[in-house]
Amino acid sequence: MAIKATNLFRMVVNPNNLKRRLRKWGSTTKIFSRNWMGVIGLVMMVTIIILAIIGPDITDYDPYGFFTIDRNVRPNWDHLLGTNGYGQDVFTILLESLRVSLLVGVVAGSLTVLFGTTIGVASAYIGGWVDTLIMRITDVILVLPALPLMLVLASIAPLLVDKIPWIDIVPQWFIIASIYIIVFWPVSARLIRSQALSLKQRAFITGAKASGASRTYIIFKHILPNVFPLMLTMIITSMRQAILYEAFLSYLGLGDPLTWTLGQMLHNAQVHAAFASGNWWLFWPPGIAIGLITLSFAFVGMAFDEIVNPRLRQR
């Protein structure tokens, strides 16, 4: 029995369901607040996001300008984090980088998991040769080690981009996000698929099937909501990893030289021999920023773990 689109919509956005979910939300927040790491993580994450949204406009400096005076100046009251080799204010640059890095991380991380989930659930549920084919494709990607593969893709991405004319509208940071998505979607696809497969065996599914429910109904009503918590945890981890990988690729010089990201700040610091010349304000701020971002994501992720798996909760 095919399900009409309107019915599908009503299924998901059902007022009864929503009420139920809101009630659950209350207990969820209670569990979350008991986990102090999660709270700290959330606070940090929110602070960082607010900083990113406000952006570099709070200072008077232009992160992309050029100045001859005040080069490599130590932090002082005029420049909270000092200046770099071009006289640009490091604090402003940090805020700009935060913005872009977070954007890349969030977009890449969520898209990877969303894409992977879709493929994973579809593959698990449709089964048969489709499943085998998809699994073989993920095998091929998983066989190639992630880092060299990302290096290869990052080095050829600009070349491919040039060949495709309409790609000008796509910002450069999205290209890096896409590289991450291409390399890591199989991981989430496999995990979700195994979860979906084990769900498939469970009693309530067989019961639903027996009562004549269609595949789509089962997917949307039963599988997806149960897969959702795992998906959420994976999104957090994926975002965190995406930020780290973006930093790594930009640091190697494979990123976009025209945009400031946290990795680009580190690359710049390395090119200007910041470590050996003692200009610590050029590399500690982005390094600590990356650390705090990943820390906050990790904490929030751990708290989510507890919500998802009730047995993990501390009593």
């Binding site: 050029f66 030289p257 010349s277 003692g278």
Partner: protein
């Protein structure tokens, strides 16, 4: 901006010969992949090969030809026949004597195979090579090349031993792992990806080298290199960013040497497109760029502003009487107004004669931060002229293919507005044929196959005629006059918009070794320097590290015993 010119002539007589000894360690930024003198790829490879092989003539730091494997040369009046006399006391590193037949073999090999990558252009102009006697060989050209060309381009070809190379089946695929040469050093050990270890050629026929062992250590990371330099593990360090230069200033044992490269960064306006082909438009753009500021900021104050004739301003053939294109925004705007490029719709961007806005893409290599910075600065300057620029960093391979660089079979060849890149000045500081190489429409760089900026005005043909004549001209005075004329024409027509000549900085230590010879355009690690560098005091030998290993081992054992006890 001043550069230090430490210069002690090679032929200065020392009170006594410096004693032989010591290990000189120098760094190299990347690995040399092959030591084949006919097919080497990067400058790292030619650097290593230069230690092992010698040529008939060597250029010193002032680009004066010095006889090395030969004792002298003569030529006839029309410069077509050249006779070189070979030394008789040169030995290959495997003990064989180097003779005239080795020279003959090397030249013959290069003459008959035009596909060899590392082959002087003059080999195509050879009519005949004859061995006249056991010590003399004659080369006859179809026409008389200038002495500068023969000595710098032809006589500096490395000579290889016939008794080894004639057995090689395919020289293109020969890796030459154990090279046999007659140069100042002998390769003792090549640890791939790590280092090269040379020992001094004690049968060398000239005075020197004075170091017993030379190690070329590959150090990839400039900061690690700086640490190695500060503790004395290596004696010099090149390609140093200005921050490290500042740190080095406070170290009494490290000196700084600045020098210029034969590399000109230019802005290419694709003259296959309107309005780039308007000469006054190009002039306006050049007047609107503050080149000394670019040098200060993007180039860290190193190098020089490049003259409009694209020739090195410290060279013998440089003509200073050319238009200098000072930074003058008012003049630039005036020129644009005179062309009729006015801002008709008040959007702060001028429109050209056809009504299209002056909006251009500026392609630049993403791999060089300096280039990207320069491109952004140019974008900034163009705002004052109401010209809108979009900077497009692309991978060098794409940029090269797009602008028409050789080897690019790219679909979008010549599909660019503006591009910022660099090229060698073809050694215009001493080489009279430089203008021929750079601008003649008959040579591959200036030909329609490449011709990166798409220069196609009538001046191009005038200059081509002039420089072609210079190639075959033997009278030095006429050569200079024609080159002067050509430079004026080029500066007037601006095929390339020259921005700057790049410069470099090398740091070197002065506490262990002395005698470094360096010049305006070379760092301390050159052939002439190798013949002079020596220890200040005799070497006592490096301290062993047994002490620390012993300490470590003891500490380790103690640590384990301690933890074992804790576990129990």
């Amino acid at each position: 901006m001043a550069f230090i010119m430490t210069f002690s002539p090679y032929s200065t007589v020392l009170a006594q010969d410096p004693f032989v000894g010591g290990t000189l360690t120098v760094p190299m930024g990347s690995d040399a992949l092959t030591l084949n003198p006919f097919t080497w790829g990067s400058v790292y490879e030619s650097y290593i090969i230069g230690h092992i092989y010698d040529a008939l003539v060597q250029n010193d730091i002032n680009n004066q030809p010095t006889p090395v494997l030969c004792t002298g040369w003569t030529h006839n009046e029309t410069l077509e026949k050249w006779i070189f006399t070979i030394r008789e006391d040169v030995y290959w590193s495997d003990g064989e004597l180097m003779d005239i037949y080795d020279v003959n073999y090397t030249w013959y090999l290069l003459w008959t195979d035009p596909a060899i990558p590392r082959r002087s252009w003059l080999f195509d102009e050879i009519f005949d090579i004859t061995v006249l006697s056991e010590t003399q060989i004659q080369v006859e050209f179809w026409w008389g090349p200038k002495p500068a060309d023969v000595l710098y381009d032809f006589a500096t070809t490395w000579i290889v031993p016939q008794h080894i190379w004639e057995d090689i089946t395919d020289i293109y695929t020969f890796a030459n792992e154990e090279p046999v040469g007659c140069g100042p050093f002998v390769l003792e050990e090549w640890s791939h990806g790590s280092f090269f270890r040379f020992s001094r050629n004690d049968q060398y026929y000239l005075d020197g080298p004075w170091v017993e062992t030379k190690i070329v250590q590959i150090i990839r990371e400039i900061e690690a290199g700086y640490y190695a330099l500060s503790v004395g593990d290596i004696e010099l360090l090149g390609a140093v960013p200005p921050e490290l230069e500042n740190v080095a200033k406070s170290d009494p044992n490290i000196e700084i040497h600045e020098y210029l490269n034969d590399y000109i960064m230019y802005l290419g306006l694709n003259q296959r497109r309107y309005p780039n082909d308007e000469v006054n438009f190009r002039k306006a753009v050049l007047h609107g760029i503050n080149r000394s500021e670019i040098m200060e900021i993007a180039g860290y104050g190193r190098g020089l502003v490049a003259p409009a004739s694209m020739s090195l301003p410290y060279g013998a053939y440089y003509n200073p009487d050319i238009e200098q294109y000072a930074y003058d925004v008012a003049l630039a705007n005036q020129l644009l107004d005179d062309l009729g490029f006015l801002d008709t719709d008040n959007d702060k961007v001028r429109e050209d004669g056809l009504g299209d806005p002056l909006k251009f893409n500026l392609g630049v290599s993403a791999e060089y931060q300096e280039s990207v910075d320069t491109a952004r600065m140019i974008q900034n300057y163009m705002l004052a002229l109401n010209i809108s620029i979009t900077v497009q960093p692309v991978i060098w391979d794409i940029l090269w293919s797009t602008v028409g660089g050789p080897g690019g079979s790219y679909a979008s060849k010549y599909d660019y507005d503006w591009a910022f890149l660099g090229w060698t000045g073809f050694w215009s500081d001493f080489h009279p044929s430089w203008a021929y190489w750079m601008f003649s429409a008959n040579r591959w760089w200036g030909s329609d196959n490449v011709n990166i900026p798409g220069w196609n005005s009538s001046v191009r043909w005038e200059v081509t005629t002039l420089v072609d004549e210079v190639l075959y001209e033997t009278d030095e005075a006429i050569v200079r006059q024609k080159l002067d004329e050509a430079q004026v024409l080029i500066a007037e027509d601006l095929p390339y918009l020259p921005i700057r000549i790049t410069g470099g900085v090398t740091l070197y230590r002065t506490d262990k070794f002395t005698g470094w010879i360096m010049g305006n355009t070379t760092g301390p690690d050159n052939w002439q320097s190798w013949m002079a560098v020596h220890l200040i005091e005799p070497d006592e030998g490096a301290p062993g590290f047994e002490i620390m290993t012993a300490v470590l081992a003891v500490g380790f054992i103690l640590g384990i015993t301690y933890f074992r006890k804790r576990r129990k």
